[in-house]
């Protein structure tokens, strides 16, 4: 429609528009100057270093030359990618990564929303504030500390006459089962999920609480006049008001679907659960940071980035199809 209505402009009109634009630029010159540092920051620190991605296409080690004499050497095309995608461990890494990430999206993602809604319903201000501050605390506890606490809680006994960790003993008393939280199988996934939930749920509420603060109070008043109860207010006013935020957060989360981080997993890894807990990030850590296989691991990270872009785009499209604003 916009195209059909486009009017042909005469040269004079074009000149007029261009002159106006220049005048605007000049008028706002200080604003543009203020923008410059931020713009340069992105160019210098985000765009320029992206040249480094090129090592994903090279047989590259820490001591190989990148510029100068070494620049023309050791180009291997897509070999790093092919080696990785055809490596027998690829599917195992993908499976583990998707399970850990999927469980996080399925079980962890809704929790901050629910908690934020619960906090939002609190009417006693000092209690609400105190609760809010308290749920942030776990976020600041180091993963190393969380790992040792977990270990102390779920450790199995060394011999029949010793006792295990507190949680292990409770489960044994209640169900008679010997919980092998650090053994093989799916146990590791639940351990990782629970650690995440404990650490990050409270912190994750911040953005949703901010969105909730913006909901128009008059709508609630009108709803009360119409006889809506608290639960109906939640369903028909609060939730729709923050749906946009939820969708945005979800799209962003989809972008990091292959990111599991390596710190938490490496801390919880042992020979019994390695097969289930080795992910792209731990693999890259081992082969890149420790072994120095930079070219190969850059290829893996680049592969992850490409998947992330695809995921974000897909999620964004789906959101738009469903009538939401989406991210871009």
């Amino acid at each position: 429609m916009a195209k059909a209505q486009k009017v042909k402009l005469s040269p004079e009109e074009k000149a007029e528009i261009s002159r106006k634009r220049k005048a605007q630029l000049f008028r706002d010159r200080w604003v543009y100057l203020l923008l410059l540092p931020g713009f340069l920051y992105f160019i210098i620190f985000k765009i320029v270093p992206m040249w480094g991605i090129l090592i994903a296409f090279k047989d590259y080690y820490p001591t190989s030359h990148f510029f100068g004499s070494g620049f023309t050497k050791n180009w291997i095309g897509l070999d790093n990618f092919i080696n990785f995608l055809t490596d027998s461990s690829f599917w195992q890494l993908l499976r583990n990564t998707l399970i850990i990430s999927g469980m996080n999206i399925l079980f962890f993602f809704p929790l901050p929303i629910i908690l934020a809604l619960l906090l939002n319903e609190m009417k006693v201000q000092w209690y609400k504030k105190a609760a809010q501050t308290l749920v942030y605390v776990p976020h600041f506890v180091s993963m190393v500390v969380i790992a040792s606490i977990t270990f102390m809680l779920v450790k199995t006994p060394s011999s029949a006459t010793q006792s295990g960790g507190a949680l292990y003993e409770i489960v044994k008393k209640l169900t008679g089962k010997e919980m092998q939280a650090l053994g093989g199988g799916w146990a590791i996934y639940w351990v990782l999920l629970i650690q995440n939930v404990w650490k990050e749920t409270g912190w994750g509420t911040i953005i949703f609480l901010a969105a909730l603060a913006g909901v128009d109070v008059e709508q609630y008043e009108a709803a009360i006049v119409d006889g809506a109860n608290r639960f109906q207010q939640l369903i028909y006013i609060t939730l729709p008001a923050i749906t946009g935020t939820i969708v945005t957060m979800f799209i962003l989360r989809m972008g990091s679907v292959l990111d599991t981080g390596f710190e938490q997993i490496i801390l919880m890894q042992n020979t019994l659960n390695r097969q289930n807990s080795e992910t792209f990030d731990t693999y890259v850590y081992q082969y890149g940071r420790v072994e120095g296989n930079y070219g190969y691991t850059t290829a893996i990270s680049l592969f992850k980035s490409i998947i992330s872009i695809i995921c974000i785009q897909t999620a964004n499209r789906l959101a738009k199809k469903a009538g939401q604003a989406g991210l871009f």
Binding site: W51, P62, S159, V290
Partner: protein, 504 residues
């Protein structure tokens, strides 16, 4: 997504820095060290939070003796290999750098001529009387494509040993075991025979940790399996776990595990706490290095004055077989001299002269004990340390710079009686060590897939012992090891073996 980009950016930034650093060191043949007043930077491992400061009196005394000013940069042991990789990526080399593990980037760097080749330099006994005494076997072990790129830090070859509660043995009327059967019986009696005599069955035999390879490999050697790799009946090199003796060892450990002679949580029991249940009187055997007995003995004295700790080197498979022991590689990392920082042969000569002097008795004593009269005194030919923390701090970790190619320095007299026995164990073990034939060889396949391959077998061994997989499953894991690159490693090693003149 921001995270992903950040990672990409981080990699790129280091690449750019590297490029700049490398551009600056191309083709320079100008001396990089002031020969009048040499200042040498050293990067080595730190095991303490407060390593010796560069201005400490001990470092200054050492500088004076060596004729060079040393500037140490201490890197925590736990992240050492990572630091070496980043140092190489940044191209910022100290004059003297310890290389902990021979990772693929270290191998690559050696082949790219990053470090001085010392193969023909170290043999010069006129110039370097101490360094000329480096052990050819150990030099062979650290060599890359037949070339020696560093100066190793010498370690005891026959270091393996079993720490055991002697008083428990006495209570049960048992002797130090000499065969596998007797060893088995000791574990059984430690578990079932109430060795501490308290009337309660609250002890077990042996502590095994998530570092299963230690005890397992020692046992396998005793049982007759090769060390790491061995020749099969066709004269071909195969990994130890493909030998029947290794499998028998696994089965034996499984028996012990099932009977409760080994801690049930061995797969998740951290090796940092290896001594813990020994010290608290819950278990009585540790298979590790012999010197563990010394630490255990001095720590247990405070908790339980009646406990007696003893040590022995090995048990035999049967009474009439020859003993076999697992050697160490004979070294713990080695110092390399990067060409980027040690530019000319004269510079290298200067650095090596310093390293040579560091093997003199005076230098070794400084690094191990500090300054005589202040940090230690000499009694009956032994060094007696002053344990004042403020003094110890002045030479903390300096021994991580010592290569001990020649052991000229003083030894300490330890308060615990077991200490002297440890030296006997070392000497006795040395006669029976089984060498690892592939130690010096480099397999391309292993350098790209090594961690993954090792993980397969570590997992299979642990799971078999704790009963999560059957023997057939374990065999299947060996097949998986072969198909995921293990066969390539076998081929690589056999090729290198056939090309190696020193073994023919």
């Amino acid at each position: 997504m921001t995270q992903t980009w950040k990672k990409v950016a981080a990699v790129s930034v280091s690449a750019v820095m590297l490029a700049g650093a490398l551009a600056s060191c191309d083709g320079s043949a100008v001396s990089s060290i002031d020969h009048e007043n040499p200042v040498l930077t050293v990067q080595t491992k730190a095991f303490n939070a407060d390593s010796a400061a560069n201005d400490s009196p001990v470092v200054q005394a050492l500088n004076e003796y060596l004729g060079a000013t040393l500037q140490f940069s201490w890197v925590p042991n736990t992240s050492y290999d990572e630091k070496v990789t980043t140092a190489m990526a940044a191209g910022e080399y100290p004059h003297i750098m310890l290389v902990g593990a021979r990772s693929s980037s270290v191998i690559q760097a050696s082949r790219d001529d990053t470090f001085w080749d010392l193969t023909d330099v170290l043999t010069d006994s006129a110039k370097y009387p101490n360094l000329a005494q480096t052990n050819p076997v150990v030099n062979h072990n650290i060599s890359i494509d037949g070339q020696v790129y560093g100066l190793y830090r010498s370690r005891e070859l026959g270091r393996a040993g079993v720490t055991i509660r002697k008083d428990w043995l006495d209570n049960l009327g048992l002797e130090i075991p000499t065969t596998i059967d007797e060893f088995s019986n000791v574990l059984k009696q430690f578990t079932e025979g109430d060795p501490d005599g308290n009337g309660v069955k609250d002890t077990y035999g042996m502590i095994v940790t998530d570092y299963l390879d230690g005890p397992l490999n020692n046992l396998a050697i005793w049982m007759g399996a090769p060390n790491g790799w061995g020749l099969d009946e066709n004269g071909e090199l195969k990994p130890a776990f493909m030998f029947q003796e290794f499998k028998d060892t696994l089965k034996l450990m499984k028996e012990w595990y099932d009977a409760g002679y080994i801690n049930a949580d061995m797969a998740t029991y951290s090796s940092d706490k290896w001594n813990e249940q020994f010290l608290t009187g819950q278990a009585g055997v540790i298979i590790d290095v012999a010197d563990r007995a010394r630490r255990v003995a001095s720590n247990i004295a405070e908790l339980n004055p009646n406990a007696v700790v003893d040590v022995f080197g090995y048990v035999k498979k049967d009474a009439d077989t020859d003993p076999r022991t697992l050697p160490t590689t004979g070294y713990d990392g080695y110092f390399v001299f990067p060409k980027a920082s040690v530019a000319t042969e004269e510079d290298l000569d200067l650095v090596l002269t310093v390293m040579d002097k560091a093997n003199d008795a005076e230098a070794e004593n400084l690094m191990n004990y500090g300054i005589e009269g202040i940090h230690y005194t000499v009694e009956d030919g032994f060094a007696v340390k002053n344990t004042d923390d403020a003094l110890v701090k002045e030479y903390n970790d300096l021994n991580q710079f010592a290569t001990n190619i020649v052991a000229n320095g003083l030894t300490t007299k330890y308060a615990v009686p077991v200490a002297e026995k440890i030296d006997q164990v070392y000497a006795e073990n040395k006669n029976w060590v089984v060498a690892n034939p592939v130690e010096p060889y480099i397999s391309e396949t292993y350098s790209t897939k090594g961690p993954q391959l090792d993980a397969i077998m570590a997992e299979a061994n642990t799971k078999f012992i704790v009963g999560q997989i059957s023997e057939a499953d374990w065999d299947a894991q060996v097949e998986r090891w072969l198909s995921q690159g293990g066969q390539g490693v076998i081929d690589d090693y056999n090729e290198a073996y056939k090309d190696d003149d020193s073994v023919q």
